[in-house]
Structures are given as C-alpha cells and as structure tokens.
C-alpha cells in the first residue's frame, strides 16, 4: 500500500509538470489549430536558463528562494522571447500555407533550438543545483514509508496557481476574450476589431511562459538537465493534451495528471506484473528465462517512456476528441 501511495505522489507531481507543459500545447492548438512542435525545446531552454542564472547567483549569498525566483523569471523572459520568435518565424508567415508547411518549419526550428542549446550548454548532462534543501514529510502514520518532499509540494502548488491564473486570464480578461474569439473564428474576430496577429502572438507568449516555469520545475525535480530533454517531455505533454482533449484547458490539466499517474504506475508495477517467473505460472515457456534470472521482467521501468505513446495511440484510435474535447482529431 505504501508503494502505491508513493507512486500516486510521484505520479501527481510528474502529472502537474506535464499539465503545465500540456497547457502550452493546448493554448496554441486552440488558437491556430496547429501543434507547436518547438514547445518541448522552449521547456528545455527554460530549464537551462534557470540553471545558468541559479549557478551564477548561488555564491552571491542571496536567500535560496530569491535565487530560484530570479532564475525562474529569467527563464520566463528568455522563453517568451523564444516563443515569440517561433511564432514570427515558423507560424505567422505560413498562416495561409498548406498545413504541412508550418509543421515542417516548426520541426526545423526545434532542431535549430536544440543544437543552439547544445552549443551554449554542452553535450553532457548538467546537474541542476539543489539550492533548496530537500525535506521529506511522511504521509500518514510512521508505519507507512510513503513520503512527499517540499520540492514536490512546491511543484504541485505552483502548477495549481498557474492553472488558476491562466483560467482567470482566459475567461476574465479582455485578452482572454480576444483569444477565445480568435480561436472560434479568426476572420470574424478580425472584423470585430481584434488584432488577430497580436492575439496569436500573445498566446504563444503565454504558452512559452508556462513552458519556462515547467522547465524550472523539471530541473528542480529531477536535478538534471540535458539539451535533448525537451523532446521526450514535449511528446508526453502533447500526449497528455490529446488525452484530455486538445484545445481544452481543463482537458490539458486532467490529461497531464492522468499521464503522470499512468507513467508512475506503469514504471512502478508493470515490471512486477511481467516478471518472467510470474508469467511462467500463467503461460509456460518462460521457465528457462526464469531460472537464469528470477528478477528479469518483460516490461521493466526502462519502458516507462513507452506508456505515453501507447496512451496517445489508443486515444487517437478510440476517442480522437479526448476525454473532455470539443474538437475532433480527424477533421480534414
């Protein structure tokens, strides 16, 4: 039971991060009906910039929370610039082009961003500085060994605050009204006096800012950063957005949390379920493998990256509109 609780805690933390990244995908998708292929790189750059700032300020003797906040602010600023650049270079000039075109420019940009990051931060894994002392809190009585760390709590709280702020922005401000109008019908929104180009740029900026914070959270949680980290993270978050129903803000949050839980549970349990000795009792034929290595399993935790794709494919086949989605995935 404590393992289960622990996996739930880990899964929800991971899910909170995925949800924030997924919000970035879903915002952009909602407004231009295109996937922002370079969003994963934005998250990676956010993580890297925060890393650089925190390392630079670590010896200055400032309070750790302030250093972290400054790192996050720098990441947000840089990522917003990158997000704006993505929109201007890859999406705006191709707004009326065939759908394949902006997709290819975005892939090209994501390759460029990844290799620029390689040039700046190098090829190897970077240890993200642990400036905040990790404290573990027990869940429940002393018998259970499930714990939650202050970093995990901070991630979940920060995600919740950002989601609430985003919802307020989209449903309570003029900017949000303009965004929703543009997403429904850009041409008519333009006739109503909305600056469509500006609104789309704002959406990319907000998505990038969310990505930046997610990058800082990933860095703080895993403690490592790498120039290719954005790729897998972006794919999983995108899968989460599709699971929840792309274009739908609540869907992105739900999808993100579910995706985090699925991954944590998959990594935590699939290995045990598919242990060769267990399988041998059900299906004969694994006896030899069981004898040579009783701990071997078919789907160990090294398959954790596969679950997101399996979920993605299942959702796209059986419910392309996602759990809460309004849009259908196969519109021509």
């Amino acid at each position: 039971m404590d393992t289960f609780l622990q996996q739930v805690v880990n899964g929800l933390t991971l899910g909170a991060v995925y949800a924030v990244v997924a919000l970035g995908y879903t915002m952009v998708y909602g407004i231009v009906q295109l996937i922002n292929f370079a969003h994963g790189e934005v998250v990676m750059i956010g993580c890297m910039v925060a890393f650089t700032v925190i390392v630079a300020l670590a010896s200055a003797g400032l309070p750790p929370m302030l250093v972290l906040a400054l790192g996050a602010l720098a990441a947000i600023a840089v990522c917003m610039a990158v997000g704006y650049g993505i929109e201007r270079v890859a999406y705006r000039p191709l707004r009326n082009a065939p759908r394949l075109a902006p997709l290819i420019t975005a892939i090209g940009l994501s390759i460029v961003l990844q290799h620029l990051a390689l040039l700046v931060w190098g090829r190897s894994y970077i240890a993200f500085p642990q400036i905040i002392e990790v404290k573990l809190y027990r869940l429940g009585n002393a018998e259970t060994s499930a714990t939650i760390s202050n970093v995990q709590i901070a991630i979940v709280v920060a995600s919740a605050v950002m989601m609430a702020a985003l919802l307020a922005l989209v449903y309570r401000t003029r900017m949000g009204i303009a965004m929703r109008a543009t997403s429904q019908n850009p041409a008519v929104a333009g006739l109503m006096g909305i600056d469509v180009n500006r609104t789309i740029a704002q959406t990319f900026l907000i998505g990038a800012a969310l990505g930046a914070v997610a990058g800082v959270m990933v860095g703080a949680y895993y403690g490592i950063a790498h120039y290719q980290m954005g790729f897998m993270l972006g794919l999983k978050a995108f899968s989460a957005a599709v699971l929840g129903g792309i274009g739908n803000l609540a869907g992105a949050v739900l999808g993100g949390l579910l995706m985090g839980l699925i991954e944590a549970m998959g990594a935590g349990y699939m290995g045990d379920f598919t242990r060769v000795c267990t399988l041998d009792t059900l299906l004969p034929g694994f006896a030899e493998a069981c004898a040579s290595n009783p701990d071997a399993s078919l789907l160990g935790s090294n398959y954790k990256d596969v679950y997101a794709f399996i979920v993605l494919i299942l959702v796209l086949v059986f419910r392309p509109s996602g759990l809460l989605g309004e849009r259908v995935g196969d519109r021509a």
Partner: protein, 359 residues
C-alpha cells in the same frame, strides 16, 4: 538525368554518358582517398531512404517523422540473419526481401491505427512510433536477448554477390579494388532500380491515387479511391524501401546499434525530401546528395575557416550540420516551399494558392 529531352542526340547517348560517369566516379574519388567512396556510399543509402520517405510524404502527403524505424528494422533483420549472433549466415539476396517484407509489416502496423489521423497528429504518432522502436531495440536484450541492447550487433557478414564477397580488397588485373568501391557498384545498381520503381509508381494508378488523396482526401474517396488501402500501401511501400536501405547499411557497416536510429536521422531524411522537393523523385535525389555531402564540405571549409579566424574550432561540423538542416527546413518552407526541384503538380498548386491570396 538522362538526355531524354535532348533533341540533337538520341536518348541512349545520355544514358551511356551517365553510365560512364557513374562507373568512373569511384575511381576518380579514390584518388582523393577511399574515405570519399565510403561517404558516397552513405550518400547513396540516404538517397534510397529519401526516395522511400518521399513515397509517404511527397506522393501521399502523410508526414512521417519515425521513418528511421523502418531503416532500423531492415538493418536488424539483416544483422540477425547474417551474423554470428544467432549463428545464422543467410545469403544477402534471401535476406533483402525478408527485410523489406518485415519493414512492410511494421509500416502496416504503424499505418493501420493512424490512417484516420490528420497531418499533425500523424506526425506525432509516427514520432512516437520511431521512439518505441528505438526503446525496444535498446531493451530487448532481456529476458530474451534479441537485439543485444545498446551494445548492438557486430561482425555482420559482408554481402556476397555471385560468389564474390564484397568485403575486403579484391585484386583485378593488378588493381586493388577496396570493399567500398565494390559496395558502390552494388548500391548504384540498387539505386537505379529504386529510382525506376519510384518513377513508375508515381505515374501508375496507385501513384495518381496518392496524389488525389494528398490534394483532397474527401474528393478522392468520392472518386471511388479506396483511401484506406491506398494510404496503407504508401506506408508499406515506403517502409519497404527503408528496410532495403537498412539491410544494406548493416552489411556495409558490419556493426549496428540503436545509436544509429535516433530521431535526428528521421529528421535528416525528412529535411532531404523537403529540400529537394516533396513529390519529385529527382528533386529528392538532389536534396539527399546535397545534405549527405554537406557535413563533409563543412568539415573541409568551415572548420579550417574557424581555426583561421578564432584559432580553434568553435562549432563542431556535426552540430553545424544539424543547425543548417533546421534552418534549411525553415527557409525552404518560407521561400521555396516546393523544394529545389519542385514537382510539376506542387508548383501549379502553390501558384494557385498565391493567386488565391492575392485575390
């Protein structure tokens, strides 16, 4: 290209000239070093891959970002059937069709659940598929050792054609012919076959059906095209080309590991197709050759230039190549979306689009 459009010479003159040039090329390159023949061989492999991907992306308009998975499947099929790993040493001609068939199967496996999806979703799913294949290759070393995990499979048999082994150096009339040159001739023969198949496919009933689907799927279905079957066929055939290229890669390299089949390779092949001109076989050939030789050219131009300017190499040519690929994809889509050598239909289409914009 042969001199088919030349008025003053009969067409066979062009064919003969191109043949002579292709036969003489490796010997000319050998003067600069056998390494250049090897580079050319890999360039030809990438041309075959690009032609295969062009079937999916260019002809049928389905964006596939996991194409390298089929290359990997072909390579592993060859490696498993012709290496000491399982103690099997099947002949090359037997394995090549098997590799193509298995890759075909994987193509259908990927195609079947994704047929209903639109361009961008399809791109993500194929991306995921490519990653799944790579993760499987990395992890299928236990509990049953099928792929030997990250260590890869080594001492793969060289190709043997009519009793002549293409590995090692052969002496012909006092000339030492290295393995790279022998592989070059095998690759050229296969390349010509692949180009002919691709060109014939493009003008066939299926090719026209692909084009119709790319332009307007609903209209294509209304015209009586079985879109599901035709799209699956695009995936399967494209995958088969990838499988063939993969088998050749394993044989030439003698060693394969999951390292060779990462996402960047898929993107590279896509960049070749986009640069050359989606849908045009000759354009794709040009794009693949340009981007295959790009890193070598960069190594010999940019690296010394950097050393001269800054005293050291600041930007690795490999990184520079990827930066260039990315930038080329962006620039091509913005300024010449139909590629360097656009296909006639694409060109018409884009001209019409521009008109619509002006109207």
């Amino acid at each position: 290209m042969s001199g088919a459009q030349g008025r003053r010479f009969p067409p066979w003159v062009g064919v003969v000239l191109v043949t002579i040039a292709l036969v003489a090329l490796p010997f000319a390159l050998m003067q600069a070093g056998t390494a250049w023949v090897r580079i050319t061989n890999f360039a030809i492999l990438f041309v075959i891959l690009s032609i295969g991907l062009n079937i999916v992306v260019g002809f049928a308009g389905l964006l596939d970002l996991g194409y390298i998975a089929f290359y990997a499947v072909g390579a592993y099929v060859y490696a498993l059937l012709a290496s000491p790993f399982f103690g099997l040493h099947w002949p090359f001609w037997a394995i090549l069709p098997i590799g193509a068939l298995v890759a075909c199967g994987f193509g259908v496996l990927l195609g079947a659940p994704t047929l209903k999806l639109r361009g961008d979703y399809l791109a993500i799913v194929t991306l995921g598929f490519g990653e799944i294949v790579r993760i499987l290759l990395n992890n299928l070393s236990e509990p049953f050792n099928l792929t030997n995990g990250p260590k890869g499979i080594s001492s793969i048999d060289p190709v043997s054609v009519f009793g002549l082994s293409l590995g090692g150096t052969t002496k012909v009339a006092g000339f030492a012919i290295p393995d790279a040159v022998k592989y070059y001739f095998l690759l050229i023969v296969l390349l010509v076959a692949v180009i002919v198949v691709a060109l014939r496919l493009q003008n066939s009933r299926i090719g026209r059906a692909w084009e119709a689907i790319r332009e307007d799927e609903v209209a294509a279905r209304a015209m009586g095209i079985d879109t599901t079957r035709v799209k699956l066929l695009a995936f399967a055939l494209g995958a088969a080309f990838g499988g063939v290229a993969g088998g050749l890669f394993a044989a030439i390299q003698g060693f394969i590991s999951p390292e060779s089949f990462v996402l960047n390779e898929s993107v590279m092949v896509l960049a070749m197709v986009v640069l050359g001109g989606m849908g045009n076989v000759w354009g794709v050939v040009l794009g693949a050759l340009l981007l295959s030789f790009a890193p070598e050219l960069l190594r010999y131009t940019i690296e010394p230039a950097q050393r001269a300017l800054f005293g050291k190499s600041l930007v690795d040519s490999e990184v520079l190549r990827m930066l260039l690929f990315g930038a080329a994809m962006v620039a091509m889509m913005r300024f010449r979306p139909a590629g360097l050598l656009p296909s006639a239909v694409r060109k018409r289409e884009l001209a019409r689009l521009a008109q619509d914009d002006n109207a």
